[in-house]
Symmetry: C2
Subunit: 186 residues, 2 copies
């Protein structure tokens, strides 16, 4: 049973009274909504509506995890992350996962397993990331977006865990995927 | 060595050429920046500048994890999460962690250990969450914000992991904190 179906949570619900579009960008669609709180009073909610995303934990034929390093302007630094990308309009998460893998690391997944999903910042964005494990990788490259630059690294799980502990891997979706895939990793 | 200091990442850097404030809200401060890419071309970056946050994994005297259930308007459902909150202006993460714990679960931490930190959505937000483990909890309550409604649950680690696997816990900071605290949990 998901939280959404949990009748015990119903009394916590906030109801939309009004919604105003502030900015309609490429990634960020910002709204300011007025909501009715459980006690009947009202509050303002700033909401980034986002089309959703996928992130894929790829395992190579040696059982190493394939990561990408890319500069993240909002973070102000390069981050080491699992491959990921935003859903295009009407695109299914499975199709998006296979596309992003080919664009970012040059492989398509022979096998793609859903391992979960995460809300990244539910205080102000609707973004939900579908998480996958990709195995049986087959070389296949698609061109990445013009404004994306990557380095690809293959690291054993022990090294990925060490880099997480040292703070060198500090990306929420990457750390979440490692925990969710733990039963498949050695 | 952090990624920021990694000389191998320098050629990936994006340089700010221009920044325009679009919306200056309570939580969301939205900018559209123009950046110079590694190949010399330019691109637009939508950036939510955020003051940063803390999230705390509290362990009660029975070793159970203390979680809060709250309705998350952006997610459209109630989520089960570790206590968390946004840094106030000039507030240190340690002070913020102790404050949020008292507001959300009615305890102050006898011991507070930094276990790491995460970027939640580095594609478009600067938000970085400082992650803590809180133990030796002492009853102490501070009033929560008027627009926040919580339920508090104490669950053993095995139950938290089962709910993560079933998708009933789907919050990135909560799942990340569980992995980062693993050596302290049993």
């Amino acid at each position: 049973m998901s939280q959404a179906d949990d009748p015990s949570a119903r009394h916590l619900t906030e109801e939309q009274l009004h919604s105003q579009l502030i900015y309609d960008g490429k990634v960020v669609h910002l709204y300011v909504d007025t909501v009715k709180l459980p006690d009947g009073s009202t509050a303002r909610r700033e909401v980034v509506r986002h089309s959703g995303a996928v992130a894929i934990l790829p395992l190579d034929s040696d059982g190493r995890i394939v990561l990408v390093r890319q500069y993240r302007y909002a973070a102000g630094r390069a981050l080491l992350e699992i491959p990921a990308g935003t859903l295009e309009v009407g695109e299914s998460p499975d199709v998006c996962a296979a596309r992003e893998l080919q664009e970012e690391i040059g492989y398509r997944p022979g096998r793609l397993q859903k391992i979960g999903g995460i809300f990244v910042a539910p205080g102000y964005t609707t973004e939900y990331i579908h998480l996958y494990l990709a195995t049986d990788l087959v070389p296949s490259r698609l061109d990445a977006d013009d404004d994306e630059f990557f380095e690809v690294l293959h690291l054993p799980l022990s090294e990925v865990l060490a880099r997480i502990r040292r703070g060198e891997i500090a990306d929420a979706k990457t750390i979440s995927a490692i925990l969710l895939a733990q039963e498949y990793l050695k």
